[in-house]
């Protein structure tokens, strides 16, 4: 029997703190993916993941259940990402290169030599996407990541960011436009 997030929270608050590990197991990958795509470095993403779940664990009593637990968790993770991005400041651009390496490492680890040319081509495209994505302002990047990779609905993204749905759509529209323009430009340089 699979417990809902709310049931696990109830059990955790009732003193069964080990139950929280079920929530960690359920949400660590989405939170890690979001952080990695926001920050570009595996190490930073893991740190944010750790910070996020720790903060959630410590503040679980403050979670009022007005929104979904996952929305609350995404919000904590995004705040941690923004905090790191602010610290990185101008260094943010450099992190793209780190991610190029780590990203390729993940992709190649997926299989052997079979289909290698296709995978290299895909990795090249992925590298372009990463660069184009990191060149976007963080507020547009996060919306694209949540919509495209986390497959959240507009309403869910609006709840996480605590902004109107229309603003989410508007940011996504502008973000996609800018992504398209940058990708076209990069392809022209290849």
């Amino acid at each position: 029997m699979e417990f809902s997030d709310d049931q696990i929270i109830e059990r955790t608050l009732a003193g069964e703190t080990d139950a929280f590990s079920l929530l960690v197991r359920r949400w660590e990958r989405p939170i890690y993916g979001l952080s990695l795509r926001m920050l570009g470095r595996d190490e930073d993403a893991r740190d944010v993941c750790q910070e996020t779940f720790l903060a959630a664990f410590r503040n679980l009593q403050k979670f009022r259940g007005d929104s979904k637990f996952s929305s609350w968790l995404y919000r904590i993770a995004l705040n941690a990402c923004h905090s790191r991005l602010r610290k990185q400041g101008a260094m943010a651009e450099q992190s793209i290169d780190h991610e190029d390496d780590s990203g390729r490492k993940f992709e190649i680890a997926d299989g052997g030599l079979e289909g290698l040319p296709e995978r290299l081509q895909r990795d090249q495209r992925a590298g372009l996407v990463r660069k184009a994505l990191y060149a976007l302002p963080a507020e547009m990047r996060q919306v694209i990541i949540m919509k495209e990779y986390e497959e959240l609905t507009f309403a869910e993204i609006a709840e996480i960011l605590q902004i109107p749905v229309s603003t989410v759509k508007s940011r996504l529209y502008t973000g996609l436009q800018q992504m398209g323009a940058r990708l076209e430009k990069m392809r022209g340089l290849l």
Partner: protein, 236 residues
């Protein structure tokens, strides 16, 4: 109209950009979808943008994370939490004494830094502020031993005070318990006495009824007795 700078269409002027992204991600209701599709029939800008966005989405799909090791999450408590738990293990009076001691130490160190001098001589307390022009503190000077003694005294006094309060609270609690216990005893005794009184009354009534019955039977027997041969009943 094509934007020369980025090769993309200029900003969508038809005012349906939100509808466009809703349609693009399949979140439009049936009526919204139909409405936007008929809009696409005559709006070149939206049609071109939809195609361009579709291409961007395909590119975005190229960046998959693949197999990555699970991030290891360790839910460890912060030092602050641990300190809080440790402090919580001590009784209130000890925490109070420690707090007052720390506060007194901080106060004395602050005063010392600010050039304030406190001296205890022959039971008199002397305080001076400020420094000489050469930066040396003004007399009287308080030694580190005196500071230590002051802090110790303050801590001891506070500890005593807290102990007294603690003991007073305990004594008050005990008195309250005793008073409650006495009240309960009185109530139980009163109830017992009431029961005894009721039993006594019932017994007395029963005895009276028995006596009445015996007396009337004796009188009846006296008058119905055949005593013609021995009217006195003594054989005379």
């Amino acid at each position: 109209m094509k934007n020369e700078k980025n090769g993309f269409d200029s900003l969508n002027d038809c005012g349906r950009k939100e509808d466009l992204v809703t349609y693009l991600y399949g979140e439009a209701q049936a009526t919204e979808r139909a409405s936007f599709e008929s809009h696409l029939d005559y709006c070149d800008e939206c049609r071109n943008e939809l195609t361009a966005f579709g291409r961007v989405r395909r590119d975005l799909g190229a960046w998959q994370l693949g197999q990555v090791a699970r991030p290891e999450i360790v839910l460890r408590r912060s030092r602050l939490d641990l300190l809080g738990e440790l402090v919580g293990m001590f009784p209130a009076w000890a925490r109070g004494a420690a707090f007052v001691g720390t506060a007194a130490a901080v106060l004395l160190v602050s005063l010392s830094i600010a050039g304030t001098r406190i001296s205890l001589k022959d039971g008199d307390l002397a305080v001076s502020f400020g420094r000489r022009s050469n930066g040396s503190p003004l007399d009287p000077v308080v030694s580190s031993e005196e500071i230590g003694r002051l802090v110790q005294n303050a801590v001891a006094e506070e500890r005593e005070k807290m102990k007294e309060q603690y003991n007073a609270r305990l004594a008050s609690f005990k008195d309250q318990l005793d008073a409650d216990h006495q009240a309960e005893l009185r109530a139980a005794r009163a109830e017992q006495q009431e029961q005894l009184r009721a039993a006594r009354v019932a017994l007395q009534q029963e005895m009276r009824r028995f006596n009445r019955q015996n007396t009337s039977a004796g009188i009846r027997a006296f008058f119905t007795r055949d005593d013609s041969s021995d009217p006195w009943g003594d054989g005379r």
